[in-house]
């Protein structure tokens, strides 16, 4: 963009509140006044309430279900089980990952809290009583919790419904509890690199199961109109259009008669991408009863059943030269998918984009293999504030690089500097075939190291280590990450066959204001603010008069939704290109009005002016009026455009994060003394929103690394499924965040923007681990498993003889 030449220009530009401005969030006024409209705020005449009977056991056969007592409670309208759904063929449903999932348990239960029956009642109090009154008789079956044990030759068979099925959605199944084996890279070349290398390291890196745990749980209000044959469902979905397609396919109702509305969403983080049994049951109940039915999860149900994340057991290996140049990377992963494969990944990628695991490094040969496994746990495996499995990938490579550095006695900054992809190598093709669009890792690293005076920190650490009476251990974590976001090019990425494009429709009204609709849906990202800024800059219309609407499938153009940092990379590009179509038409109108040729016009902020004559111009407002009033002959009236954007490539945001911790040798508590996050997300649309997203992502990363866990006992009981145990940090626990940035635009994106909101989650988690492990590095420790809560860190202190 040209810098405005005069004061007048600068004022006109800033009046638009366009790209680059820290425009205040348009969403906040309603949220801070309690005027949001969430699914649970929606009430419809005659609405009934649904609650779910859930299994107390993790693996059992259902002997008998007795509904009589529940049905006898006044105000109970129906109790439905798998038997009732069978005639409709809705007792099972397809998953996004090519598996099937029980809507209501069919003959057996596969995980604790699995949906067994539903109750529909006048209010949620009666429904809760009726849930208690449904009697279910179970016969215990042996429980499989450990994914390695699941693959033992004599392991109990979990999925009897798949008996004899040796072909899964992603190839051969070798064992009844095996889902798929997926691989990428070049096994032979990698083997050769390992054979020739001077140094190799190997470690098992476990990324434990966690849950996104948004403040608002999942839920819906389904309303079937039996007279019109139309189904409207308000639903907490990050991908409402995909839900509409799936609901139409499952129910047989034409897609034109299905309307899905995502109202305000209280956080998604991947938890609201999937389609859950609760949604299907509420819809069926509404169709059967002809009345609206509301279902809202409680917190225990949310943590226990709807979409966990991670649970990757990764065997990582690196081959290197004696001076620390990485020659090869290899990993074998056991992925615990729970009882049904309900991951939400692009269909062709059962392990998501895990093959970004060569990271920010120039590695000649790499190979990865992921095996999906069934266990008696809830299904899921969603992208928790990250692009598909990118968090796991970054965690793996960053851990392995640190382990290599420790083995070689190399500084952790130095080993990264030696192996980074250099600026001039971009676009860079990774050993897994990704084409990294742009990057400048060395500059970012130098900036971070200078900002914290890295040598001084290392000197302080050495002094602390030399003092046996020191009450603390000091650790420094340093991580460089490269993400792959903006899924994605439809030649590679689809969901159930629908390409992962996104869309925008813009209408400019006669008086110069505008409405824009997209296929994405905001859940805290501030789309209503930033999307308007893109249009403001592209079209010279003030942000203030641009309405942004998303989430209603009856009005918004089809799009794949918001997750995997795809809104700005994909929908943001669609917005820019739709705006440019309007811009091109506006130029024609302006030329007509000014009676000059199109090429005789210059665009300036909010107007077209005649080249060389500042006094002759038409503002966007003039042009809007003319579009409806005196469109040039041969041109349609009106001023609107739609654009469906199929990205040519992913985008590759990156960053360098540094964390300093002090560990209390008596209690095991870790204090984050300092955390600096440098992010490069290419062009920055709203710096304030970026800052906010980074703070949020760092805080969630802190939660994962330092406290979130989903432990199971041997019977498959999930321990800690309330917020008393499941760690959501408050302002009291949250460290102070420092941020910085560099700007390396994406060359293939119309705005140069790469997406940012997930980087801080992806990048910070390995940084915390690196810092905690680094505190123990002089004691011979090179890896520790999350979460690094006081209890676990204290065990490490004790085992090293460092506890006070």
């Amino acid at each position: 963009m040209n810098a405005p030449k005069e004061a007048g220009l600068a004022e006109r530009a800033s009046a638009l509140q366009g790209m680059g401005e820290s425009r205040l969030r348009k969403e906040d006024a309603r949220f801070i006044q309690g005027r949001g409209n969430y699914v649970d705020d929606i009430r419809m005449p005659g609405m009934l309430h649904m609650d779910i009977v859930r299994s107390p056991l993790a693996h059992a056969r259902i002997k008998r279900i007795n509904k009589e007592q529940a049905l006898a409670i006044p105000g109970v309208h129906a109790v439905l089980t798998a038997e009732d759904l069978k005639p409709l063929k809705l007792h099972w449903m397809p998953t996004l990952a090519g598996d099937v999932q029980a809507v209501l348990a069919d003959e057996k239960v596969h995980f604790q809290m699995q949906e067994v029956a539903i109750v529909i009642a006048d209010d949620r109090y009666i429904a809760a009583d009726a849930v208690e009154a449904v009697e279910v008789e179970y016969e215990d079956l042996p429980v499989v919790i450990d994914p390695y044990a699941a693959l033992a030759p004599d392991a109990p068979v979990l999925r009897e419904d798949l008996a004899g099925k040796t072909e899964g959605a992603h190839g051969r199944r070798e064992h009844p509890n095996h889902i798929f084996t997926w691989e990428a890279g070049d096994a032979a070349a990698t083997e050769a690199a390992f054979a020739a290398a001077a140094v190799t390291v190997k470690a098992r890196i476990h990324y434990p199961r966690v849950h996104p745990c948004p403040l608002e749980t999942c839920g819906c209000v389904a309303s079937f109109d039996p007279v019109r044959g139309e189904l409207t469902t308000y639903l907490t979905s990050q991908a409402p259009h995909v839900v509409r397609t799936v609901v139409s396919l499952l129910s047989g109702i034409p897609e034109s008669k299905v309307r899905i509305v995502s109202p305000d969403i209280g956080g998604g983080f991947g938890n609201k991408v999937g389609i859950y049994p609760g949604y299907v049951c509420a819809i069926v109940a509404s169709i059967v009863l002809g009345r609206p039915v509301k279902w809202i999860e409680d917190r225990v149900e949310n943590i226990s059943t709807t979409a966990f994340a991670r649970d990757y057991h990764m065997d990582g290996e690196i081959a290197a030269t004696a001076d620390g140049r990485i020659l090869g990377l290899r990993t074998h992963v056991i992925a615990d998918h729970g009882a049904f494969d309900a991951c939400a990944d692009p269909t062709k990628f059962p392990a998501g984009l895990f093959h970004i695991c060569s990271g920010s490094y120039d590695i000649a040969a790499a190979y990865c293999q992921v095996k999906g496994v069934y266990t008696n746990k809830a299904p899921g495996g969603v992208a928790y504030r990250c692009s598909f499995r990118v968090t796991e990938a970054v965690y793996l490579v960053e851990r392995m690089v640190d382990i290599l550095a420790q083995k070689l006695g190399l500084d952790k900054a130095e080993i990264r500097r030696r192996n980074f992809i250099r600026k001039e190598q971009f676009p860079y093709t990774s050993p897994f075939g990704f084409e990294y669009d742009s990057g400048d890792y060395h500059t970012a690293l130098d900036k971070v190291l200078a900002a914290v005076d890295y040598p001084a920190l290392r000197a302080e650490q050495a002094a602390t280590r030399a003092n046996p009476a020191s009450p603390t251990l000091m650790g420094i974590g340093l991580v460089s990450f490269t993400e792959v976001v903006g899924a994605g090019p439809s030649k590679m990425c689809d969901i159930l066959g629908v390409g992962m494009f996104d869309s925008c429709e813009i209408r400019v009204h006669p008086t110069g204001s505008a409405i824009a609709r997209m296929g994405t849906i905001t859940q805290g990202q501030g789309h209503q603010t930033t999307y308007a800024q893109i249009i403001a800059t592209e079209l010279g219309i003030p942000s203030e008069v641009i309405q942004v609407e998303e989430g209603d499938t009856s009005t918004a153009p089809y799009g794949l939704g918001t997750y995997g940092s795809r809104s700005t990379p994909v929908a943001g590009a669609a917005i820019a290109l739709a705006a440019r179509k309007i811009h091109a038409k506006a130029r024609k109108i302006a030329a007509h009005l000014l009676e000059v040729g199109e090429n005789d016009l210059d665009w300036e902020i909010d107007r077209f002016k005649v080249k060389g004559d500042d006094s002759r111009f038409k503002t966007m407002q003039d042009i809007s009026w003319a579009a409806y009033h005196q469109a040039p002959p041969g041109l349609e009236p009106g001023l609107e455009a739609v654009h469906y954007y199929d990205p040519p490539n992913f985008t590759f945001p990156f960053g360098i994060y540094l964390c300093v911790v002090d560990i209390d040798r008596a209690t095991g508590e870790t204090k984050v003394r300092r955390f600096l996050a440098l992010d490069d997300c290419g062009t920055r649309i709203n710096p304030m929103i970026i800052e906010g997203q980074i703070h949020g992502g760092l805080t969630e990363g802190f939660a994962v690394a330092m406290g979130q866990q989903m432990p199971f006992d041997a019977q498959g009981n999930l321990l800690g499924n309330t917020l008393m145990d499941y760690f959501l940090p408050t302002a009291v626990e949250t460290p102070k965040w420092e941020t910085d940035h560099t700007v390396t635009p994406s060359p293939h994106h119309p705005l140069g923007a790469k997406g940012v909101a997930e980087s801080p989650h992806v990048g910070s988690i390995p940084t915390f681990t690196a810092a905690v492990v680094d505190a123990f590095a002089h004691l011979g420790v090179d890896n520790m498993t999350m979460p690094h809560n006081a209890y676990r860190v204290w065990q490490q202190l004790r085992d090293c003889g460092a506890a006070l």
Binding site: G668, G720, F727, A790, W794
Partner: protein, 287 residues
């Protein structure tokens, strides 16, 4: 997360509440702040059919002095303990502890009486009542009786209080001049119960311990008073070897349950650690 149906009663006097309690029998529960009872009802662990709400009985609230004793109404909420000038001046350990309990919302409703009689080993007030040598005034159909806190706690959710009784007041001797005190509580996050916590009340005379009370939270089925550790310190100077012995005696009486906060080994070690820190701070405050 939704309790079964119950009837709600709101008596205006202690006598009326005792009468209702007798009449409705064991299916009735007293409701104070509700921050222990309601979560149990929502999880359907507790299913009382009647709730007798004590919140409208004004007599049960407030803090006043009676000579060298402070008298605290059972229905006094944590925030009122924190804000009380009287407690800050004469019994500063109580406001300091109340600030470490739960979060501001809970402290705005949760009462000292409910916290004590609930019998949850994770609650902080039972150990504090032991450390402060408090007495509990219980009212029942037959009138009032006063029990020392020491001996009141029998086990998880078990106390000396009878089913037809109400805790009405807590009586606590005010601190003598130059009393040192501290409560150290290790927790995973704000709003959490203790992984382990220790209270110390201490007076020194010529460098020797002339008074000491040590009590522990959440390391046994009920709050513990560390008698042996007290005996080791009484009359002694606080040198390193003594402190080590006392810490060992503190840890020796711990019998915590394993949970997500830690196993018995960790919690026991933390009880020792919290005791050392509380003792050091209490000693520093003795001046």
């Amino acid at each position: 997360m939704i309790p079964p149906e119950f009837d709600y009663h709101a008596p205006r006097s202690v006598a009326e509440a005792i009468h209702l309690l007798g009449e409705l029998g064991p299916d009735a529960k007293l409701l104070a702040g509700g921050h222990s009872l309601l979560p149990m009802m929502k999880l359907r662990f507790a299913q009382p059919t009647h709730l007798i709400d004590l919140n409208r009985i004004d007599d049960l609230r407030g803090i006043h002095e009676e000579g060298d004793q402070l008298v605290i109404g059972a229905m006094t909420v944590e925030n009122d303990l924190i804000d009380s000038p009287l407690l800050r001046a004469r019994l500063p350990l109580l406001p300091e502890v109340a600030r470490q309990i739960a979060d501001p919302q809970v402290r705005n409703r949760g009462t000292i009486g409910g916290d004590i009689v609930h019998g949850d080993p994770g609650n902080d007030h039972p150990a504090i009542a032991l450390a402060l040598d408090a007495s509990l005034v219980l009212a029942g159909p037959g009138g009032e009786r006063t029990l020392p806190a020491d001996g009141f706690f029998l086990g998880t959710y078990m106390t000396q209080m009878a089913e037809d009784e109400i805790l009405v007041r807590i009586r606590v001797p005010a601190f003598a001049p130059r009393t040192g005190y501290a409560y150290h509580k290790l927790k995973r996050k704000t709003g959490d119960w203790a992984t382990a916590a220790a209270a110390v009340v201490l007076r020194l005379d010529g460098g020797r311990v002339s008074h000491v009370r040590i009590a522990l939270t959440n390391v046994a089925p009920m709050a513990l008073r560390a008698h042996a550790a007290e005996a080791l310190l009484l009359g002694q100077a606080l040198d390193a070897a003594r402190i080590d012995q006392a810490a060992a005696a503190v840890m020796a009486i711990c019998a915590p349950a394993d949970d997500l906060r830690g196993d018995a080994e960790y919690k026991t070690a933390m009880a020792g650690c919290m005791f050392r820190r509380a003792l050091a701070q209490a000693a520093a405050r003795c001046a």
